[in-house]
Symmetry: C2
Subunit: 373 residues, 2 copies
């Protein structure tokens, strides 16, 4: 038995996910360092930040920790490769590379017989026009890599928009055209896989978006009893195939024809923030346990709950804190339109139902997004 | 509404209590700095530590934060006075001064009609001899100030030991002799008072010691339904009388004649660590809310639970983490005999009762103390 048993974990990225990963890691005697463009980031309160815009910062970062992970899914593969000649990275590089390219991701879903909406590879305006004919309209066009939170997307609703879509996105050179799925709702499944191959899965979460950004999540997703084992099966196929270590998220559409995989994120996910208070072991703690080679914690639900994002503007802190059952998480970020500044997890108490809490919170948030219906 | 709403809170002390206070404060956009002898302390991962052994460190510490609190009950009153000419300190100085002297503390309990065991002031061996005669043996002799975790105490069981007791403790010049209370068990009540005077109380905790150090706490204290309102009344008298802000702990003996106050601690307390997972709002978060002038959170119990201290030696981390329902908190400290290195909170899960968890944990801890009965 070592004297203090403190290990250091290096995290690519220094945003709120890194901040919450480090918060969860500390009580296990795991400390963190971060690699981020500019050192004034949400993770700075929890460990040294190495500025990725500076020469030599990558090597200093590599020297700073024993094992590595990421909280930013567009982590540079070149940086990952430099690291991998020296130290271990979890999740594995292949998961990162696959998630960074929508075409590779869809190919993997196909390979593992995980249903997806019809899609086509698009490398020219002619490709796009052909896709519109063969798959019909509307058509969702996305850059193969680099997009997030609704950016890098175009919905072609009539043929005349094909040129416009290509003009807007064609610079990316590689696009994907997806058939429009008349989905009823979006859910996500989050799971963690340990270094010994053990897999644990949290309950399905129902996600609501507003202007392409996650507004709120409900757990467990209503009427999801039949969907849970199917989603669990899909994510387990991915985890095992990739020999994955850490937390993986799979976004799914619930359609009349069943579950369709939308995309995966090789990291902890906004739709799993509720697990800090709502599960026995959170996505953050379990990710760090997996990365450090420790046994996984229970993903059992403590209580049905809801997570609401704080976007663009901070609410009056006092008003949120007065709500018994509202758990506030600010990220220490400056206000900016469309920026995620924090979240609130709502857990029913003896005095407040989830419905009452949700309604009270909607009145408090400066920008309640989809919460107010 | 400010752009980021981050305030800084200065904490006298940088031990595990400071570490857990800062952990709870961060999601509220409250950051912390610390004042500690030597900067290598458990709080160092969460904010700047000012080394109290260095000249000018006090002023630098005072400059570093907006409002101040303490996690160390022997915080220097001289330092507090220097601070108070410039900035606010919560809890108030009077609470700190009173808690640092057992005679002042007893006098306050008397004044507020909070029952205590018979006691006498002792300034000489003759005083002590007289106390032994008038109160009878056994007699518990303590230094009026400076003792903790069973240090600075002597139990006089026969008259011949009076000289020995004086020899051991008399250097302190001011002692207190307390009648031996045939108590059945020790409980503690923890409450928080906001800047607006609101008081909230957690459920009574039953505390078990081993060699003078807290071994484990059980919440709620068994058979405490009748005791809860009485203890709540006592601590509320203290809080209101002292115009207190923050968390206060009151240790009580359960005796055949009712509850007797033992001592108070003007800070978050080891017997309240269970509240991180076991209460809607923990003692740490509520203390920081109070100090920052924010509304208090709910002290409602989420589940009956148990807190077990890790003392002297780290257990095998894997073994603790394998127990579903065991929440591990290490403090990042080096091993030393009798030192608190961490704690584990046990919360029943679907698979594990509290009894099963407690029994499994007793087999894992290298020094199970009183847990194994």
């Amino acid at each position: 038995m070592s004297k203090v048993q403190v290990e250091n974990i290096g995290i690519f990225g220094g945003g709120q996910l890194g901040r919450m990963l480090a918060q969860a890691a500390l009580p296990l005697n795991l400390t963190c360092t971060f690699f981020e463009a500019g050192i004034d980031c949400p993770s700075k309160d929890l460990g040294a930040v190495f500025d990725s815009t500076q020469a030599n910062a990558l090597q200093d970062f590599i020297d700073s920790a024993d094992v590595f992970t990421l909280e930013f899914e567009n982590t540079s593969l070149t940086d990952a490769d430099a690291l991998l000649t020296q130290k271990a990275l979890y999740p594995p590089r292949v998961a990162l590379a696959t998630a960074q390219n929508r075409l590779s991701e869809k190919a993997l879903f196909d390979q593992l017989a995980i249903p997806v909406a019809p899609y086509q590879r698009v490398e020219s305006e002619a490709d796009l026009r052909q896709a519109a004919v063969s798959m019909g309209l509307p058509l969702v066009v996305k850059t193969a890599s680099g997009g997030y939170d609704g950016k890098g997307q175009f919905v072609v609703r009539e043929e005349a928009q094909v040129s416009q879509a290509w003009q807007e996105l064609g610079a990316a050179k590689l696009l994907i055209a997806e058939a429009f799925v008349p989905f009823v709702r979006e859910v996500s499944i989050i799971a963690v896989r340990g270094q010994d191959g053990e897999v644990r899965t949290w309950p399905l979460t129902e996600n609501h978006h507003h202007h392409g950004i996650l507004s709120h999540s409900i757990v467990p997703a209503p009427n999801s009893t039949d969907l849970q084992p199917i989603a669990q099966d899909y994510i387990t196929r991915l985890l095992n195939h990739l020999n994955y270590v850490g937390v993986l998220t799979l976004e799914l559409f619930v359609t009349p024809e069943g579950l369709f995989a939308n995309e995966m994120a090789p990291r902890v996910h906004n739709s799993g923030h509720w697990s800090i208070e709502g599960a026995v072991c959170s996505q953050f703690e379990n990710h760090m346990r997996a990365v450090a080679g420790l046994p996984l914690g229970s993903t059992e639900l403590i209580s049905p709950c809801m997570m609401v994002n704080i976007i663009g503007q901070h609410p009056a802190r006092d008003a949120v804190l007065k709500l018994a059952g509202a758990h506030l998480h600010f990220y220490g970020k400056e206000e900016r339109v469309g920026r995620k500044l924090g979240h609130v997890t709502l857990i029913p108490t003896q005095g407040n139902t989830l419905e009452a809490l949700s309604s009270a919170l909607a009145d408090i948030l400066p920008e309640p997004l989809a919460l107010k219906g």
